[in-house]
């Protein structure tokens, strides 16, 4: 018995693999045909193989719960999601454009603030931003780049177009899962990689290394690059270790580093102190230096900000880059692209209502049951309201929250997130909503991952794809149709 694709119905959502006429889209044709040729037992065998592979590879992430932290196996669906290479090319150009503009914006904010003088963005938005760091004013990091690694969430709406949902400019995670997803899929569906023109994803870590190396303040042949992790209890520790290993960089914790009297950063090695040039830090701004920020932080390195301000060490992302990672600033990004680059935005934003504007707030409050409300500065899907899936009580609570702190909330229409066939039981395939997080690198050059991390809401009908909220993931295939 094979899977019955004729029963597959995405209920008027845009489906990544299957058209409304129930036939495969061009980039998914070989994939769907191949899956159709497997009988249910064989498909189940592959699914179990993926599960075992994930266990053996130790791919896991940590979920914080009231009962303590649980190290969970990475939830993975074996059916990949496909995008054609020509379509991806456009998205890629749009992502580069966007990050370029965002970096010009951040650099401007910490210098002359022309964008405010010229009336493009209101001053209070920056003044009230939780992520604006006065300590960064006047600092000029290499290449004028503050956000070196950006994870931008893309969604495909009902019209089949890509929209930007948010930009993560602080410490975006997920890229290691993108790489591991491919490694798992190669083991589970090897036949398809022979016949289909699936573009490889694994140059990310060498691109990351090159990007970081270009930031080195010293002109030494081999810069000392480290990945700074908050430690084993962080939900993304697996990724920190993975990236350090793939780049051949040291994985360090705050206590492995110290700032010397010369304001340079050193790591504690078996041979004594060794100078560090570039820190890829996976710790939030406020914890990186107890001298400059939270004095109670044990994760950071005392004096690190001083060393960075003097240009003795590079930090990626730079402190203060998060100022552009604010959902209110997000609403202005199309304007920022026009302002800094004099170009039309290639990727569109999702329509966004700013609750601090009285008129827009009124609309939001009247339509809480239809909108998605998000706090301006949270990540991981915490603290948001999904209108159509909420109770009257939730809505009343959010109405109060919005009224008491309008600057901190934005609202967006509930998107008709695209779906993709997902294996939900033995031989059973149903549509599940998903998004896509590509990663963009910028220092001397700009680079975008081939595709990105596809996150899937594993619960039927759910729109929340975050792994901390029960989401899973799929491999993402950029298929080059012209190469065939």
């Amino acid at each position: 018995m094979e899977i019955n694709w004729t029963d597959y119905n995405s209920n008027n959502f845009f489906d990544e693999l299957i058209t409304e006429e129930q036939s495969p889209r061009a980039p998914s044709e070989k994939l769907v045909n191949y899956l159709s040729s497997l009988d249910v037992e064989e498909l189940e065998k592959r699914r179990l193989m993926a599960e075992a592979t994930i266990q053996e590879m130790g791919v896991s992430f940590t979920v914080y719960t009231e009962e303590g932290n649980i190290d969970r196996a990475w939830p993975f669906d074996i059916i990949p999601r496909t995008i054609s290479a020509s379509e991806w090319k456009v998205a890629e150009t749009g992502l580069k454009q966007r990050l370029k503009a965002l970096n010009l914006f951040i650099d401007d904010l910490y210098h002359d603030q022309n964008v405010i003088q010229d009336g493009i963005i209101p001053e209070h938005i920056i003044k009230d931003s939780k992520n604006f760091r006065p300590e960064c004013v006047g600092i000029s990091p290499p290449f004028g780049v503050w956000a070196h690694i950006c994870g931008t969430d893309l969604v495909r709406a009902g019209d089949g177009q890509f929209y930007v949902l948010e930009d993560n400019l602080r410490v975006p995670s997920g890229v290691s899962y993108m790489l591991e997803n491919r490694a798992i899929t190669k083991r589970v569906l090897p036949e398809l990689f022979e016949n289909d023109n699936i573009l490889p994803v694994d140059d990310y870590t060498s691109k990351l290394f090159d990007m970081l190396a270009a930031l080195s303040p010293r002109d030494n042949e081999v810069p000392e690059i480290v990945v700074l992790t908050p430690g084993i209890f962080n939900s993304a520790y697996f990724e920190h270790a993975f990236l350090a290993q793939q780049m051949g960089a040291e994985l360090v914790e705050g206590s492995d580093l110290f700032v010397g009297e010369d304001d340079c950063v050193y790591m504690k090695t078996i041979a004594g102190p060794e100078r560090v040039d570039v820190i890829y830090r996976r710790i939030d701004d406020l914890f990186i230096d107890p001298e400059a920020f939270d004095p109670n932080s044990v994760l950071g390195v005392p004096g690190l900000m001083r060393a960075w301000q003097k240009g003795n060490v590079a930090l990626a992302n730079a402190p203060g880059a998060g100022v552009a990672d604010d959902k209110v600033v997000y609403a202005y990004v199309p304007e920022l692209i026009k302002y800094y680059l004099d170009e039309e935005p290639i990727l569109a934003n999702v329509e966004t209502f700013l609750c601090e504007d009285p008129e827009q707030q009124e609309y939001v409050l009247a339509n809480l049951d239809k909108l998605v409300v998000k706090p301006a500065n949270e990540s991981g899907g915490y603290g948001m309201l999904v209108g159509p899936h909420s109770t009257k009580k939730d809505q009343a609570l959010f109405a109060e929250l919005i009224k008491s702190n309008p600057r901190n909330y934005i609202a967006q229409p509930t998107l008709k997130l695209s779906t993709s066939p997902t294996l939900i039981g033995k031989g059973q395939i149903e549509p599940r909503h998903l998004d896509l997080r590509p990663f963009i690198l910028q220092s001397k050059d700009t680079y975008v991952t081939t595709g990105g991390l596809t996150r899937v809401a594993m619960k039927k009908g759910s729109l929340v794809v975050n792994s901390s909220q029960g989401g899973g993931s799929k491999d993402t295939w950029i298929v080059d149709l012209e190469a065939e």
């Binding site: 350090a244 290993q245 504690k268």
Partner: protein, 314 residues
């Protein structure tokens, strides 16, 4: 190399070695009990004594029988030297240092850990014990083989050598001590028969039986086995071989003066054995001193490389 990473690698190597040693020990013991001459009664409980764990054992169990001893040695998570505890520590140490070991190390350790956890009852019950323990030993050998075949011989490797050989030397002295203590129990006429079974099992526990045969070329006796396991310069589990490996490793690391001194002191410690009568209480004292020296050596390693003093090193 980061001090913290060096420490975790050193301990990882010790834990891999410990897992293999426990599996070997139980396996050989299991085998020996069937071969004992009639009238000789040796208790499983000796295994607990070898590992100096009697106090902890009594906190947990009343009866010193086979089942409890095996539970304690293989499964018990309150016993820090049980196979499952050691695997857990190994996994935690590698989890936080996977960036410096070959990529597949983490995968192999996970596999071994999953296997041990899912099949631990096979080790405790008799019928499948042999194949369970064999799989554990093979799992450790696979990991060591991966490290040997793909690790660069840099500082990281030297810490693997230090951890592995320290743990190994320690275990060899413990096994010898256990054998001697059994032989010293008053037992009259069966002693000769027991000696033959016991000493060949001691060799087998170290995988050294055939090597001993080839090298020593005479029948098996306590004195010769003890001399072989202490002093043979070629077999990789003898105390002398382990100390030499550590010597080489220390010489490739910076600031190892204190460690070097202790290894050299340990190498000079000698005990004259001319016949099996020499394997007496004095010999046991000597083994005890060796073990104390090994503990001191581990202390030196910690001071020299893991507790970072930035004033001195700068």
């Amino acid at each position: 190399m980061l001090s913290r990473v060096a420490e975790r690698i050193y301990w990882s190597a010790r834990y891999i070695e410990r897992v293999e040693n426990i599996a070997r020990l139980v396996s050989v013991y299991d085998n020996m009990l069937y071969d004992l001459p009639k009238g000789v009664d040796i208790s499983w409980y000796n295994l607990v004594k070898i590992n100096s764990n009697t106090e902890l054992f009594h906190e947990r169990y009343k009866v010193q029988d086979e089942k409890n001893v095996l539970k304690f040695m293989l499964e018990d998570d309150t016993n820090p030297s049980s196979i499952l505890s050691s695997l857990k520590m190994l996994r935690e140490n590698i989890r936080t240092t996977r960036d410096v070991v070959p990529q597949e190390t983490w995968e192999l350790i996970n596999e071994l850990d999953i296997y041990a956890r899912n099949n631990i009852k096979k080790g405790i019950n008799r019928s499948e014990r042999h194949s369970f323990l064999n799989n554990i030993i093979e799992g450790c050998q696979t990991i060591n083989g991966l490290l040997a075949g793909t690790m660069s011989r840099d500082a990281t490797w030297q810490f693997v050598l230090l951890g592995r050989n320290l743990e190994r030397a320690d275990m060899t002295t413990r096994v010898l001590d256990a054998a001697v203590s059994l032989m010293l129990q008053p037992r009259d006429e069966q002693n000769l028969a027991l000696g033959q079974v016991l000493w060949s099992k001691v060799l087998k526990s170290q995988g050294a039986y055939l090597n001993y045969r080839r090298t020593v070329r005479t029948s098996i006796s306590g004195a010769k086995v003890a001399k072989f396991l202490l002093n043979d310069p070629y077999f990789p589990r003898t105390v002398s071989f382990c100390f030499n490996e550590m010597l080489t490793a220390v010489n490739k690391l910076p600031h190892g003066e204190n460690v070097l001194e202790t290894v050299q002191m340990l190498k000079k410690m000698d005990f004259e054995i001319s016949s099996s009568d020499d394997l007496d209480m004095k010999f046991r004292d000597y083994l005890n001193e060796l073990q104390i020296g090994i503990i001191q050596l581990s202390g030196n390693i910690t001071e020299s490389w893991f507790s970072f003093d930035k004033g001195e090193a700068a």
